[in-house]
Each structure stands twice: as C-alpha cells, then as structure tokens.
Amino acid sequence: MFVRHPLFRPLAALALLLLVDLLLIPGFFHLEVKDGHLYGSLIDIVNRAAPLMLAALGMTLVIATRGIDISVGAVVAISGTVAAMLVGGGMVINHGVPEYVSRVPMAWALAAALGAALLCGAWNGLLVAGLGLQPIVATLILMVAGRGLAQLMTDGQIVTVYYQPYFFIGGGYLLGLPFALYIVGAVFLATALLMRRTALGLFIQTVGINPVAARLAGVRTAVLIFLVYVFCSACAGLAGLMISANIKSADANNAGLLLELDAILAVTLGGTSLGGGKFSLVGSVVGALIIQTLTYTIYSLGLAPEVNMVVKSAVVFLVCLSQSAEFKTMWGRLRARALHSKQGGTV
C-alpha cells in the first residue's frame, strides 16, 4: 500500500542519493552548531534548494493546467534587480572607513520587487489566458525580454547590496535553520491549504485534464489560468529575492539562468505529468531536493567539471527508470528468466 503511494518513488530516489552520499562522502551528514545555527552539508543543500523549491511550486500549478512557464529565470532576474537597486546603496569611503547606506526602506523595496514579479505573471497570464497564445511562446517572450529589462535597469552591471538586513532573506538563520526554509515552508503550506480547503485544486486539475468539460461545467478557465501564471511568477519573484540576498548582489545577467529547466525537471521528478491534471506539491519539493542533492554530491565528490553533466544525466535517467512501473516489470521478467534458465541448467 505504502509502496503504491505516488510519493514513494521520488522519496526513494532521494533516499538512495543520500545513501550514496553517506557511503562516499565522509562527514556528509555531519551537522554542527556554528554561530548559533546549524552548519553542514545538509543545511547547504536545503538552503540552496530553497529558490528551486519555490520555483518548482509555482511551476507545478502551471503544469497542472497543461501549461509551461519558461520565463521563471527572467522573473528571478527582474525581482532580484529591482530589490537590490532599491535597497542597494553604495559604499562610501569616509576617511578610509567604508560606510554602508540603504536607499529606500527595505519593505518598499521588497514590495516593489514582488510587484514587478506579479506584473510579469499578469503579462504571461494575459497572453496565455486572454489571447490564447501557446504557453511556451507566450512565456518565451518574457524569457527573452525580461532579462533584457533587468539588464537595462542595471546597465549590465552587478548591483551590490550593502544593507545587512536584506541578506537575512537569503542567508539568515532563524532558530538555527536557514530563514529561506521558512519562506518555502510558508509558501508551501499556504499553497497546499489553498488547494485543499478551496476548490482551487479541483478546478486546476479539471482545467488540465479536460478544459472543454471544465468550461461547460462553469469553471472560469481563463481566470484560473491567469491566476496560475501570476502565482508562478510570484514564486519566481520570491526566489529572485532569495538568490540576490544570498549573494548580496543582483546579477541580472546570470541570476536564475536556466532555473526554469531545473524547476520543470523538479516537477516531473516529483511525479507530476507535463500533460497536466493531477499534481503533487510535495513531489515537486522532493524533486527540487533531488536535483540540489545531486549537484552538491557532484561538487563534494571532487569530480572533474568535464564529467558533471554526464553524471547528472546518468542519475536523472536512473531516477526516472526507478520510477517507471514498466521498467520494474521488465526487470522482474528478466530476473525470472535468468533464474529459470539457471534452474534449467542444473536439472
């Protein structure tokens, strides 16, 4: 029964990966308290995975409606840039002593950044739900232009932030755990509750599985699709804040580059089909953790950078195969045949 659960396989894959780490990387599970917070590889992994988890949460709902959003990376760049520029400040050297100043109150800056992300989402939503463009082209437009906009704001420079409280979002600790984790947790809980307690989950699935039936049953398909893109961008915006706060700067050129691919990968690894319909938020979070654990493992193993990609792809293939019921039956049949022939041999 337990093995049948859709989350069993992603979780098993994650466990397997961690087992490999346990065997190959000394001290991988070592945790210590440093400066009043936990410190160790596992903490790094969840910390780095936080933006990806957020992006994957947003992407899950988009995919559930049979859509796709490839502008996530650009939105990350935009929101990080807006926040960093507004919080920003510069370093002034007064008699050889560096001094840091913030430009506008941080709350404003954060609100502006999230506002920009919401605008991006609304734009995507309008193109997909309003005009009926195919999601991939609709979001391609923002993917290309969005990063350009972010670069335009910064003139292509990396905006360094000097304002300490801002760093808390991406690098701070609360009760010994990374603050980013609390943000992800809050978004996850809010989303999960919304899906459970309101009809949103039901409607999203319906729209993903059979949009015609949904419309005839009186579901507001267009509004729903619009909202889903807005939500996805909002998640990406939050992720952008985290990323820029973590590196204490906004890098419009590189922030969130290809994050959309990782997010989609996380969603699919979590067991949600790109064909829309049934989705699993927990699955996507687990998928994101799988990806980050894998990346971290590659770094920790000391592999040459040339083989990174080969290893990564091999693991993705293996994880997928381990999730395939067909593979299991085929494997079982092969083993049965091997056993059979062995017995045949002894007779």
């Binding site: 307690r197 309101t198 009809a199 949103l200 039901l202 409607f203 699935q205 319906t206 599985i209 059979n210 015609v212 039936a213 949904a214 419309r215 005839l216 049953a217 009186g218 579901v219 507001r220 319909g277 049934k278």
Partner: protein
C-alpha cells in the same frame, strides 16, 4: 425458450460450422473490481451475435480482452481453433478482427477520410494517394447515408457522425470478425437501418459479427444469437428467436424468470411493463402551465442554426426532434452559452438576460448534459465524487469549497439514486463502464438542482432497466417544477416523454406539437416534408 449455455451446441438452431472465434474461461481483474470471471463466448461465421448486459456487466472489457487492449488474467482465445494472444489492437487487426469500441476512438485532428483509412492508405507510386482516399471515403460514407466533406477535420462533426466514421472505418477492413460496441448509441433510426442493411450483407458474406447494444428493438431486429452477461459472468447463450424480451431483461438483471417460456413475443407488452406506464403516470397530473421560465427569440448562429423561437415552462418537458445533423445539439449549445449566438435574445423569468457563456447559463439556473461524454463531460482522471460535485462547486465559487463530508454524502446519494456501479466514490471515473460514466455526468447536473435542465442524449449507453429508472427520476423532477429540454436520437422515447415537441429540420424549426398530437409516423412525415416550416 431459453437454452442453457452448455446445451446450446446441441440445439437444432445452432450453426453447424465450427466457431471462428471462441473465448474460454476468461478472467480479468481490475484493482478492486472483478470485471470478468470465467466468461466464455462463441462466434460463428455468418451470424450476428449480440452481447447484452447491464451497465458494468463487463461487455466492453470482454471486447477489449478479445482485441488485445487488455491481457486476460486467465483464459484462452481461439481463432479457428488455434489459440491466439493478441498483444495489441494492431495484432488483432492483422488476425482479422476489426473493432469499433464504445467510446469513439478516432483522431479529431485528422480529416474524416484519413480517420477511415489511416493504417491502410490507398497508395500510388508508393505514396499516399489522397485523391483516391477521399473519393473512396466519400463513397463509403455515402453507403451509410452520409454526405459530408471528408477532407474536413473530424473534430468539426458531431458525435453521431464520428460514430458513423468509426463504423465505416471498421467496415473498410477486410476482416473475418467484426466487433461493434454500442455503435448505435447516438444514431437515429434511419442510420441504424442503413447500418443494419450493411451488417446483413456482411453476414450473408459469412462474416461473424459481435454486437453490443442496449436497445432491445435493435437486438431483435438483427441478431441471431444472444449472450447475456451479468456482473462479469456469462449468464447464458440463447438463440434470439427463442428468448422473449421480458425473459431477456430478467436474465440481464438477474430476476427470476417467472413469466415462463410461453411469454408472448410482441414488444408492446414489454414497453408497457418497462416504462410507458410509469411515465404516463408521471404526466397524468401535469400541473397547470406556469409562465415561461425561458424565452428565446430569434436565437441563431450563422452556419449552425437558423433563428429559432423557443419557450419552455417550469414543470414541462420539451422534446427536440429531428434527424441527425438537424441542429438539435446546436440549439442546446446556444441556449447554454456554450457557443455564442450571433442573433437573438433570451429572457429568463420574463426578464432579458445575456447568456454569453456556460457560467451565465448556470447562474441563470440552467444545466446542460452534453452528448459527448468523453470530450465534453467526463474528467477521466478525477474521481466519481469530484466529477459529480464539479458543476455545483463551480457555481459556488472558488473559495467556498463544499465540505468534504458533504461532497461524499452528495456523491453517495447519487450513486445510490442512479444505481451507478462503482467500487467507491473515490474511483476515477475513467475506470467506470460507459453507461455508468453517463450516469455520473447526469448526476453532476442533477446535483446543481437547476431550474432548467438540457439533456442531450442523456441515456446514451445506458441499459434498458436503468434508462427507465433515470427517465422516471427526471420525470419526477419535472413534476416538481423543473423545466427540461430533452434531446434523444430515439424518436419513440421523445414522443413518449415530452409534453411538447419542437421539430427541427435542416437547422431550422419546422413545427411545434403538443403531446399526443403526433405519433412516430407523423413526426417522420413532418421531418421529411418540412411542409409546416416556420
């Protein structure tokens, strides 16, 4: 006279030749459901063999096992006495088994002609000969009485046409065994007659035909022998001529065969026993006519429906009559806002009201059960419960989710009321039998307690017994004040049930008749002549 299955071979009426196709001891288990247990079936060359049984009895599953869609858990399939194990429909086709499945399985994006010919195109210089394909397709359809543009994509045509295309496709194969799973569920009598003509000819050529239907008339019109299934088991195999209708129904539902063997054959008596009486009773005390619930004036859409006037009153059952493609479905869709009307106006309760989308219609208290359950109704991966509450929830809005306990209670209530055969209300609707899916969709609209319900072929694929119960249920609702617009390809059903009838012809209204004004014959005359065209 019923013949025990095992003895069937020894009766004089059994064909002398060996069976082309034989199934022995077939078992098939789905998670939580034993769909088939130890089922046998024999199919002889040159016969039409009808498979009958209630919704969920296992007919479609048996056919899918037979044609390689499912692999049986146990049992054997023999073709010409040799065991076969088709692993796919492709293989079954190669073995000479051609099939029309219950749900129309065609590709909506391809043209009609291509849907008929895909997989066995006419070729010329090694390439597909589109010209030849189109003309051959047109000729094939013509034989079934259908004249349409075969180069247009299939999606453009209504379900009934799609069903005809699916049948044409199956007929086009050089096969020895032809299997038709409820091919007639949305066809009109004239189409059915044409189809039967073709089937008879094929039978004369020695083809073995396995046929599934819920229409007793059709069963008796064409079949040589009948196999009755009940609850995944074979109840028995009978020669058609020796089984009375009532006995057949009793065997399907598992009632004792107390009427005995000397039951008179004519259908009228059965009709009386089955439904007319009940319905007639339902309408005997029809309440006094109230002011119209919905008034439509000049409602039309270019290319789909000429401007139509229509009014419907609370407590009234209005039937829409017409031939295939006469515009009934279009009229229903316009009323419901599923398509946008480009002329005309609608008033609800005497006040003008814009209905531009299904949401508007639902808000105005209208429900619409579409004829195409696969594409416009069922949300296959979702559970029976979710499918039932969908429209109700959509009307309630996003935030006010119906409490889970209430949802379950509601779903269970309808499962009981409509006799939906399902393992639980949490089963995905996709794993229900066709007829049971249809009941779930009906439940979806009943659950919204609409003031007016549009039923487009609501009993499509529903077995005789359940059909009676459902129509009863609907009639009862109607009596309580619901307005009902009823569309069915079974003319007799419409005639029997409706208080008033609107006849459509060529996408135009051509007459309105009160109950009792018309009989089957005169309706056909109206449709054919179109004299009283408005």
């Amino acid at each position: 006279m019923s013949i025990p299955a095992h003895a069937a071979g020894s009766t004089p009426r059994a064909p002398q030749a060996a069976p082309v196709l034989e199934l022995r001891g077939i078992c098939k288990q789905f998670p939580g459901v034993k769909a088939l247990s130890d089922v046998g079936l024999r199919l002889f060359p040159g016969e039409v063999h009808t498979l009958m049984g209630q919704n969920g009895a296992g007919k479609s599953t048996l056919i899918k096992v037979l044609t390689g869609v499912y692999t049986p858990d146990r049992g054997q399939i023999l073709l010409d006495g040799a065991v076969i194990r088709p692993a796919s429909t492709l293989e079954a086709q190669r073995l000479g088994i051609s099939t029309v499945y219950q749900e129309v399985n065609l590709c909506p994006n391809l043209s009609v002609a291509e849907n008929i010919f895909i997989g066995r195109y006419p070729r010329r210089f090694g390439r597909i000969d589109w010209q030849a394909m189109r003309s051959q397709a047109a000729a094939l359809l013509e034989r079934m009485g259908i004249r349409i543009d075969v180069a247009a994509p299939l999606a453009r045509y209504p379900l009934a046409i799609q069903q005809m295309v699916a049948i044409s496709r199956a007929l086009n194969v050089r096969a020895r065994v032809l299997i038709l799973d409820e091919p007639t569920s949305s066809l009109d009598e004239s189409e059915v007659a044409l189809l039967f003509g073709v089937l008879r000819q094929l039978r004369a050529d020695g083809m073995a035909i396995l046929f599934v239907t819920h229409f007793l008339e059709q069963t008796y019109a064409i079949s040589d022998r009948i196999t009755v299934m009940r609850n995944g088991e074979r109840e028995g195999e009978y020669a058609c001529a020796e089984l009375s209708r009532l006995a057949l129904v009793n065997k399907m539902v598992g009632a004792p065969d107390h009427h005995g063997a000397d039951e008179a054959r004519p259908g009228a008596e059965l009709d009386a026993a089955l439904d007319v009486g009940l319905l007639a009773r339902a309408h005997a005390h029809a309440p006094a006519r109230q002011p119209a619930f919905l008034l439509a004036r000049g409602l039309g859409r270019k290319g789909a429906l000429a401007p139509l006037d229509l009014d419907i009153h609370p407590g009234e059952l209005l039937g829409l009559c017409g031939l295939l493609g006469s515009g009934r479905t279009e009229a229903a869709r316009l009323l419901f806002g599923a398509d946008k009307a480009d002329s005309g106006a609608i008033a609800i309760d005497g006040k003008p009201r814009a209905i531009a989308s299904p949401r508007d219609a639902i808000a105005a208290g209208i429900g619409f059960c579409s004829e195409d359950r696969k594409h416009e109704g069922a949300v296959l991966e979702l559970s029976v419960r979710e499918n039932i509450i969908l429209a109700l929830q959509a009307r309630g809005g996003l935030l006010r989710a119906i409490p889970m306990r209430h949802q379950q209670a509601l779903a269970e209530e309808y499962v009981r009321a409509l006799g939906i055969k399902t393992a639980s209300v949490e089963t995905p609707i996709g794993s229900l039998s066709g007829g049971n899916q249809q009941k779930v969709l009906l439940a979806r609209w009943l659950a919204t307690a609409p003031r007016m319900l549009i039923l487009d072929e609501p009993t499509r694929g529903i077995d005789v017994r359940a059909k009676q119960e459902i129509m009863d249920y609907v009639a009862a609702l109607c009596r309580k004040g619901m307005a009902i617009l009823f569309i069915s390809s079974e003319l007799s059903e419409v005639l029997r049930c409706s208080d008033r009838m609107l006849v459509l012809r060529d996408r135009k209204a051509c007459g309105e008749f009160a109950r009792g004004e018309l009989d089957e014959h005169s309706v056909l005359q109206v449709i054919a002549a179109g004299e009283s065209c408005a």
